[in-house]
C-alpha cells in the first residue's frame, strides 16, 4: 500500500484499502483559524445542546487578519476567544503566535503517522513531517467539531522520485514550482503526492515549502518519508521518537503515476500571473520591474529563508522603488531571525517587518497592491486579485530570487548576482 492507503487504513481500522474506497476516520486534530468564527456560528444551538466532541481536537490559530484590521475582524477574534474559554480548548494560539500551519508543525501537533484535517487549503503542509493532512470546508469543520469523525475517500497516489543534487542558488521552491508547471494546477487532483528519492538534501523547512504547495497542483495531501532529518527536527522541538509511529509506503505499492526529476537540471523559475502553473524560467521574465517584494508566509517564512535573504542583502540596499515586506511565519522564527541578526540586516537594507501572520498574502491588509503594480512574492498563490487588487500582478519565486530582485527593482536571476 502507498502512504495514503496505509495511514487511512490505520485510522479506519482496516487491513487493506483501495483507492476510491470511502472510510470513516477520526482525525487527531482539526485546524481552524480566524474562520473558526463563521464555523461555530453555523452550529450555535448544537454546541449548546451537545458541546464539542473533544477539547483537544481543535487547534485554533488567529493568523489571517492580525492584529484585527477592522471591527468585524476584532469581533470575530473576540467570539473565538470566548468559545475557547467556554470549552477550555488547550490548543489556542492568539494573535502573534504565527501562521496556523507553521504553529501546527512547530508545536509538534502534526507528527509522523498522524491524521489532521483543517479548514484551510494549505493544511496539506504537514506531509513535511510524514503526517496525512488535508483541507476541508467550513461545513465539514463544523460537523467534525461536534462528532470528531468524517469520511475520507482513499486517494490515488503519485510518486515523485527526486534524483541528484540541486544546483547552487536553486531552492526547494524552484523544485515545487517546476513540478506544478509540468503537471498543471489540476495535475494531481484528488491524489496523494509522495516525494521520494534524494530527499535527504531537504531540511524540514524546505519539505514544508514543497508540501505546502501540493494543493496548487490539486493534491489531497503530500508526503515526505520520515528519516533522520525528520526525527532530528522533532527532537529539536522536544518530541522524542517514542511519541510517534511513522507510516512508510510499502516498496511494492501501486501508484497511479510515477514521475522522476533530475534536480541538477532545475534552475530558478517564476510563477507568472495569474496562475501558479504559469511557470517560466527566470531568463524569460528577467528585467520585469517590481514595486513590492514579499519575503515570508507559510510557504517561505522560516529561519532558513530569512537567513538566505539576509546573506544576499547584507550591506546592500533595497531598490528605492521597491517595498520589501518581511513576514516571519511565527514568533519563534521571528525571535530566531532576531537572534541570528537577519532581521537587523534586512531592516538595515530597507525591509519592513510585519507581524507573524498571513499579512498581504491573501490581500486583506498590510501590503495590498494598487492597480498596475507588481509584487514578487515567496508566497504560494498568484491568482488575480489575491493581494487585494484585480489590476495588480503577482509573481512567485524563491526567497533567494526575491532578495536579489529587491536590490535591483526588477526580476533578477540570483545566479548572476551573488557569489555564495
Amino acid at each position: 500500500m502507498t502512504f495514503a492507503e496505509k495511514i487511512l487504513a490505520r485510522y479506519a481500522g482496516e487491513k487493506q484499502v483501495q483507492p476510491g474506497q470511502i472510510l470513516t476516520v477520526k482525525p487527531d486534530h482539526l485546524l481552524m483559524h480566524d474562520n473558526a468564527a463563521p464555523i461555530i456560528s453555523k452550529i450555535q444551538s448544537e454546541l449548546k445542546e451537545y458541546g464539542i466532541y473533544k477539547r483537544d481536537l481543535p487547534i485554533i490559530v488567529l493568523d489571517h487578519v492580525i492584529p484585527a484590521a477592522a471591527e468585524k475582524n476584532a469581533l470575530q477574534h473576540k467570539q473565538i476567544r470566548e468559545f475557547v474559554k467556554t470549552y477550555k480548548i488547550p490548543n489556542f494560539f492568539d494573535v502573534g503566535y504565527g501562521i496556523c500551519h507553521q504553529i501546527v508543525i512547530e508545536k509538534g501537533l502534526a507528527l509522523p503517522g498522524t491524521l489532521l484535517l483543517g479548514s484551510d487549503s494549505h493544511t496539506c503542509s504537514y506531509g513535511a513531517v510524514g503526517a496525512f493532512s488535508s483541507g476541508i470546508d467550513r461545513t465539514e469543520a463544523a460537523a467534525l467539531l461536534l462528532t470528531g469523525e468524517t469520511w475520507l475517500k482513499v486517494p490515488q497516489s503519485i510518486k515523485i522520485t527526486l534524483k541528484k543534487k540541486l544546483p547552487r542558488l536553486v531552492t526547494a521552491k524552484d523544485v515545487i514550482l517546476s513540478i506544478i508547471g509540468d503537471i498543471s494546477s489540476s495535475g494531481a487532483d484528488y491524489c496523494s503526492v509522495e516525494f521520494q528519492g534524494a530527499v535527504s538534501q531537504f531540511s524540514v523547512d524546505e519539505r514544508f515549502t514543497m508540501a505546502n504547495m501540493g494543493v496548487e497542483m490539486g493534491a489531497k495531501n503530500t508526503m515526505f518519508p520520515v528519516d533522520e532529518i525528520t526525527t532530528r527536527y522533532l527532537r529539536s522541538i522536544g518530541v522524542s521518537k517514542s511519541k510517534y509511529i511513522p507510516v512508510q509506503p510499502d516498496p511494492d505499492a501501486t501508484y497511479d503515476r510515477e514521475l522522476t526529476y533530475d534536480l541538477s537540471s532545475i534552475g530558478p523559475v517564476v510563477a507568472t500571473p495569474h496562475s501558479v502553473d504559469n511557470i517560466k524560467p527566470i531568463s524569460e521574465v528577467e528585467g520585469i520591474e517590481i514595486q513590492q517584494c514579499l519575503l515570508g508566509t507559510c510557504t517561505n517564512g522560516r529561519i532558513s529563508d530569512f537567513q538566505a535573504a539576509a546573506k544576499i542583502l547584507k550591506g546592500k540596499k533595497v531598490h528605492p522603488a521597491v517595498r520589501l515586506l518581511l513576514l516571519p511565519a511565527s514568533r519563534a522564527v521571528y525571535l530566531d531571525a532576531l537572534k541570528g541578526g537577519y532581521i537587523k540586516t534586512l531592516v538595515e537594507a530597507g525591509g519592513t517587518v510585519l507581524p507573524p501572520g498571513c499579512g498581504p498574502c491573501l490581500g486583506a491588509h498590510q501590503g495590498v497592491l494598487a492597480p498596475g503594480e507588481r509584487c514578487l512574492s515567496t508566497s504560494n498563490r498568484n491568482f488575480k486579485g489575491r493581494m487585494g487588487c484585480k489590476e495588480a500582478e503577482i509573481y512567485l519565486a524563491s526567497p533567494v530570487t526575491v532578495a536579489v530582485s529587491a536590490i535591483h527593482g526588477k526580476i533578477t536571476d540570483p545566479r548572476k548576482e551573488t557569489k555564495q
Partner: protein, 150 residues
Amino acid sequence: MLFPGKYTYTCSTAEEIKPHLLEDLDPLFAKNVKEGDLIIAGKNFGCGSSREQPVLGLKSVGLAAVVAESFARIFYRSSINQGLLLIECPAAVKAYKKGDIVSLDIERGTISIGSNTFSFPKLPKEILAICDAGGLLPYTRQKLKQKKKR
C-alpha cells in the same frame, strides 16, 4: 463552467443561482432540467474554486446525481456535504450517447444505459445517509439526537 464567477457576489440563494447554472455551456439547462434528472459529465467535473454556489444550485433543481469520469476534489466533498450525490463511473460516461435513457440503482451500485449495465463502487452507508438527510449538518444533527436518546 458550472456557475459563472461574475455572479459570485450577486447571487447567494438557490433561487438566485438557479437561472445561471451551466449557462455558458447550455443556456437552456436551467429551463429544461427536471427533478430526478442526472448529469453525465467528463473529467474533473466541478474544477475550480471552493465556492459552494454551484453545489447549492445543482442541489436545488432536484438532480438525482451527477455521474462523471472524475470530480474535482473540493467539489466532490462539498457536494456530499450539501447532500448532492456524485458517482464516478468512467465506463458509463464513455458508453453514453445523447438521448440514451439512463437509470441509476444506488443501493446496488449500478447504472443502466440501454441494455448495458455498469457498476460503480457502492457508496458506503455513511455517504448515502448524509445525502438522504439532505447534507452534512442535518445528518450530524440526526446523529447527535440518536446518540442522546440511547
